[in-house]
């Protein structure tokens, strides 16, 4: 049986079972859409969190009256630490300005105070600090050992809270991702099985007139692959359309306008399409197997 015959048979078969095929494909589409939708939300949250997360860092106070020449050395040592993203030197004047800004209307309290009462400091930004707050602790410990460093501040309490939060978030995301994937796979395979059940008489007849398993399975597998492709494809197109809608602010209330959303990375898209096809293929294959015996 050549490929052309196979494709022709598959297409004919789809035409003859249009309703069933459309319904099954819709189930595939919806299952995948749900999974992708939450992936998209996750990716965007992650994206926002990453941007926000770069504001997390460690403040390094230097010893009072430190030798000016030591500062570049410390700077380089800080940068060399694994996980450090960038390092900014905060002069005494800069620190004083920040305090003034914090006090706002109450800044008159600082009138006549000399800026030098604040120490020199470095602000060390840590990579992925939001997702792995324990890194801050590790890096802070390393910094403490550097010569000329007086004190390291990284908001111990705050990091602990963050740890709990990111821990929960991670667990929730992983659990729901697994649940969604599992459900999608399960629902799709159940639907395919219902479909094959409904056609078992046909399989039996084909077998009795001398069709090989390959001949019988061929079009079904072809259809399954197409179904996986279609299902995932439609889901992705639908998702992309809503993504465009939302990010162009057409449907959303004004205040979200101008918000930068990201779409799913193309690797994930390809992966999902592939998985969808494999899932439909395997689901069909295993549903048919028991009817193809003897």
């Amino acid at each position: 049986m050549n490929l052309e015959t196979l494709v022709r048979r598959a297409l004919k078969d789809i035409r003859q079972h249009m309703a069933m095929y459309a319904l099954t494909t819709m189930v595939v589409t919806l299952s995948i859409l749900i999974f992708l939708f939450f992936s998209l939300i996750y990716v965007n949250l992650h994206h926002f969190a990453s941007r926000f997360g770069t504001q997390l860092g460690v403040v390094v106070y230097l010893k009072e009256g430190i030798n000016e020449e030591l500062i570049p050395k410390i700077y380089n040592e800080l940068l060399a630490i694994n996980g450090v993203k960038n390092v900014v030197y905060i002069s005494q004047e800069e620190a004083f300005k920040r305090l003034e800004r914090y006090l706002g209307d109450e800044k008159m309290v600082l009138e006549g105070v000399d800026a030098t009462f604040l120490p020199d400091s470095f602000e060390v930004k840590v990579e992925k600090a939001l997702f792995q707050p324990e890194r801050l602790r590790v890096i802070a410990d390393k910094i403490k050992k550097i010569e000329g460093v007086d004190k390291v501040q990284y908001g111990r309490e705050w990091v602990q809270r963050l740890e709990v939060f990111t821990g929960i978030a991670r667990n929730v995301v992983v659990a729901s991702g697994i649940l969604l994937l599992f459900t999608a796979a399960f629902v799709v395979s159940i639907t395919i099985r219902l479909n094959v059940y409904a056609r078992q008489e046909e399989l039996e007849i084909l077998r009795l007139v001398g069709a090989t398993n390959g001949f019988i399975e061929g079009p079904f597998l072809m259809e399954a692959m197409l179904q996986g492709l279609l299902g995932a494809g439609i889901a992705i197109v639908l998702l992309y359309a809503s993504y465009l809608n939302v990010s162009s602010g057409l449907l959303m209330p004004g205040f979200i306008k101008g918000l930068k959303l990201v779409f799913l990375p193309w690797e994930l898209v390809v992966l999902v399409v592939g998985l969808s096809m494999v899932l439909c293929l395997l689901g069909t294959h295993f549903s048919m197997r028991k009817f193809l015996r003897s």
């Binding site: 007139v209 001398g210 015996r293």
Partner: protein, 228 residues
Amino acid sequence: MIERDDGIPIITLASVTKRYPHDIVALDDITLSLEKGEFCFLTGPSGSGKSTLLKLLYFAEQPTSGDIFIEGINIKTIKEAHKPIFRRKIGVVFQDFKLLQDRNVFDNVALALEVVGFSHDQIAYRVNKVLESLGLGGKGRRFPQELSGGEQQRVAIARAIVNRPPIILADEPTGNLDSVRTMEVLDIMDELNARGTTILFATHDERLFEGTRRRVVRLRDGRMEVGY
């Protein structure tokens, strides 16, 4: 009686017994062989085991004991993967037709050729010819549901004979046909037989073999009553 003694029989049943679950004995120690090119009637009252015997021959059921040989090969030794090859050598008219409801008449008949891998043109030619010969010309695009009972039965016959198999097993193939159509079918079978096809024809209609001198195997409650 047409018989060509060119060696081994094409079908042999050796002390075959078929027991269905709950101790229903459908066939009891049947020994029978058909020579190549033979035309044999299989008869007996309702429930005597005719269909069961045929089912064993097309591998729809397995014998509880005894051996079955097709072209000298014990079917127990046939691998699963090779069964389709054997099935293609056997054209079966099923008692309940077994037509695909969602394919039209043409496609149903073409199936037996597609399975073997015939070309598009050859399929069209052969199918149309066989439909014509069974009085179904012009009904190729109908679906089984749009045919009368007798027409469906003839589609089933068409599918069984279209790929000119060396063996034809016909299970009550004229139960829904009037006497004229029945004679036509018998004539077609005769013609195929004359070209060397071995035919096992199960029927309860005594008239079909009353005049002929063909072999008649009679079953009653799963036992063979009369040999030749």
